[in-house]
C-alpha cells in the first residue's frame, strides 16, 4: 500500500494549523515526521485518520483519491493510528483492549491467532492478559496501544510519540518492536520526539515547522544536516 497526502489544510477557527502538508508513506518502510511542539505533527496524523476534517487537500491510497474521510473506513483500508499518550481503554482488560482493536474484523476467525502473535511480539501483555489496562505501567500501556492497533491489521501504522514519558530502556524496547513490525511489511509513519532514533530508522523523513514541510530527505542524510542537528538534536 502506498499512501500519499496532498496539500492538506486544517484550521482551528481562524488559526491555520496545517498550511499544505504533502507527504508519502509506503508499506514496509519507516517514514519520520519531526518538528517542534505545536508544529502540526499530531494534527497531521489526526487528519489522516479522519478524526479532524480537513478543508482543503486530498489523500491518495494506491492511486485512489479520497477527499472526505471517515475514520472507520480509513481503518478498514488499513491505516491505523496509535494516538499520543497511549489512550488505552483503562477499564477494559488487556485482552478486551486487544479485541477492541479487531472491532471491524467481525467474522474473522484469525483474530485469535493474531492475538497470539501480538502476545509473542509483546510477551509482557500475555502476563497481564486479564488485568485492567488502567493498572498497567506507562511502558506496558504503550505496548498495549501498539498491540491493539496491530489487531486492526494495519498496512500503515501512524504512531504519535510512542516513547513519550517512558524510561529510556522501555523506549528502546518499543523501538525494537517497531523495527520488527516494519520487518513484517507494515509501513510506519512515525512522529517522535527522539529525533535521532526516528531519523536513523527512517528511510525518508519530513521536517515540519508551523504547519508546513520545510525539509525532506533520507533519514540518515537529514541527521547530518546542520539545521536539523541544531534544531532537533540539541547540537
Amino acid at each position: 500500500m502506498h499512501l500519499k497526502v496532498n496539500n492538506l489544510h486544517i484550521s482551528y477557527g481562524k488559526i491555520e494549523m496545517l498550511k499544505g502538508i504533502t507527504l508519502e508513506v509506503s508499506q514496509g518502510t519507516i517514514t519520520a515526521l519531526v518538528g517542534a511542539n505545536g508544529a502540526g505533527k499530531s494534527t497531521t496524523l489526526m487528519a489522516i485518520s479522519g478524526i479532524l476534517p480537513f478543508k482543503e487537500g486530498s489523500m491518495d491510497i494506491d492511486g485512489r483519491q479520497i477527499t472526505r474521510i471517515k475514520t472507520d473506513e480509513i481503518v478498514a483500508w488499513g491505516i491505523v493510528q496509535v494516538p499520543e499518550g497511549r489512550r488505552v481503554f483503562r477499564r477494559l482488560t488487556v485482552l478486551e483492549n486487544l479485541q477492541m482493536g479487531a472491532f471491524l474484523r467481525r467474522h474473522d476467525r484469525t483474530v485469535k491467532d493474531d492475538i497470539e502473535r501480538v502476545f509473542s511480539l509483546l510477551p509482557i501483555l500475555s502476563k497481564r492478559e486479564k488485568q485492567e489496562a488502567g493498572t498497567l505501567s506507562g511502558g506496558e500501556q504503550q505496548m498495549l496501544a501498539i498491540g491493539r492497533a496491530l489487531l486492526a491489521k494495519p498496512k500503515i501504522l501512524l504512531l504519535d510519540e510512542p516513547s513519550l514519558g517512558l524510561a529510556p530502556l522501555v523506549a528502546e524496547k518499543i523501538f525494537d518492536v517497531l523495527l520488527k513490525i516494519q520487518a513484517e511489511g507494515v509501513g510506519i509513519l512515525l512522529v517522535e520526539q527522539n529525533a535521532r532514533w526516528a531519523l536513523e530508522a527512517a528511510a525518508w523523513a519530513y521536517v515540519i515547522e508551523t504547519g508546513k514541510i520545510v525539509l525532506e530527505g533520507e533519514g540518515r542524510k537529514l541527521l547530518m544536516n546542520t539545521q536539523v542537528r541544531k534544531a532537533y538534536l540539541g547540537e
Partner: protein, 346 residues
Amino acid sequence: MSKKNATSGYNRGRLLRTAMTVGMLAILFALPYFNHNEYQLDVLVSAGIFAILVLGLNVMTGYCGLLNLGYAAFFASGAYTYAILNVKYGLSFWVSLPACIISAGALGLVFGSCVLRLKGDYLALVTLGFGEITRIALNNMDGLTGGPNGLTLSHPVIRFANKSFDFGIKSLPYYYLSLLALLVTIIIMRRLSNSRFGRAWIAIKEDEVAAACMGINTGKLKLFAFCIGSAIAGFAGWLFAGKQGFVSPESFDFTTSIMLVAMLVLGGIGSISGAIVGALALTIIPELLRPLQEYRMFLFGAIMIIMMLFRPQGLLGGVRIFEEFRPVSERVRQEEDEVLAEDLKQ
C-alpha cells in the same frame, strides 16, 4: 493441573451464580403468598418499573457516557402512546406494546441525531431542556393528552378462549407483570453488554478518540445507545400507564429524571445489578422514612451525601469504576516502568 483447577473454580462460580439467581427468582415469585400487604406490593411494582427505567438509562449514561437529564420524556412517550391509543382508538394494553416501544425509540433516534454532536455538560443541558419541553407540551396539548387532567385508561385484560381475566386495581397481577418485564429487560441488557456493541460503548465512554482510531463509528454507536435506552423507557412507560390506569404530565417531570440518574449513580454506573439495587433502594427508602413526614427528605438527602462521600462508585459499582476515582500518578507509573526495564534486561 493448575489449569484444570482454574476451570473447575470457574464452573463453581457459575454454578453459585445460577443457584443464587434461581433462588432470588423463587423468592420474588413466591413473595405475594407470604405477604399480602397491598401497599408493600404496590411499592415493589413501582420499584420494578423504575428498575427497568434505570437499566435503560444505564445503556446511555452507564455504558456510553451520555448523561441524560430528560429521560422522563422517553418514559412519557411510551406511557402516552399507550394512553392515546387506548382512549382515542380503543386499542388494548397488549396490542399497544410495540407502538410504545417504537414511538419512544423513534423519538430517541430523532432527538439523538440532532443533539449527539454535543458532549458532556452541553448534552446534559439539552436533554434537560428536552425533558421540560415534553412535559410542558403534554400539559398544553389538551385535545390529545387531556392536559393537566391527564387520561384515564381501561385496565389490561387477558382473554383466553372464552374466559377473561381483568387486571383490575389490585397490585398482585401488576407485580407479576412487572417482574416478568424486568426479567426480559435484564436478559436483553446482559446480551447487549456482552456484545461487540456493549464493548464499543464502553470504549467510547473511556476515550472517544481512541475508539474512533479503532474504527468504531462513534456517531452511529452513540445514536444506537440513545435509541435503545429510549425504547426501554417506552417499554417502562407502557407498563407504568397500564398499572396506574391513568397518565398525567406530573409523573414525568424533572424530579423523575433526576431521581433516575440518582438511582443509577447510587447503584453503580454501568452495572446491571447496580441499576436494579439503586432503583429498589431509592423507591423503598423514601417509603420507609414516611413516619418522619416532611423531614424524610432531609434524611434521604443525608443518605445520598454520605453514600457519595464513602462509596462514590455506587453500592454495586465494582473495582472497575473505582479506578476512575484513583488515577495512578505518573510518578508511580515511572517507578513501575523501571521495574519493567529490569525485567527486560534479563
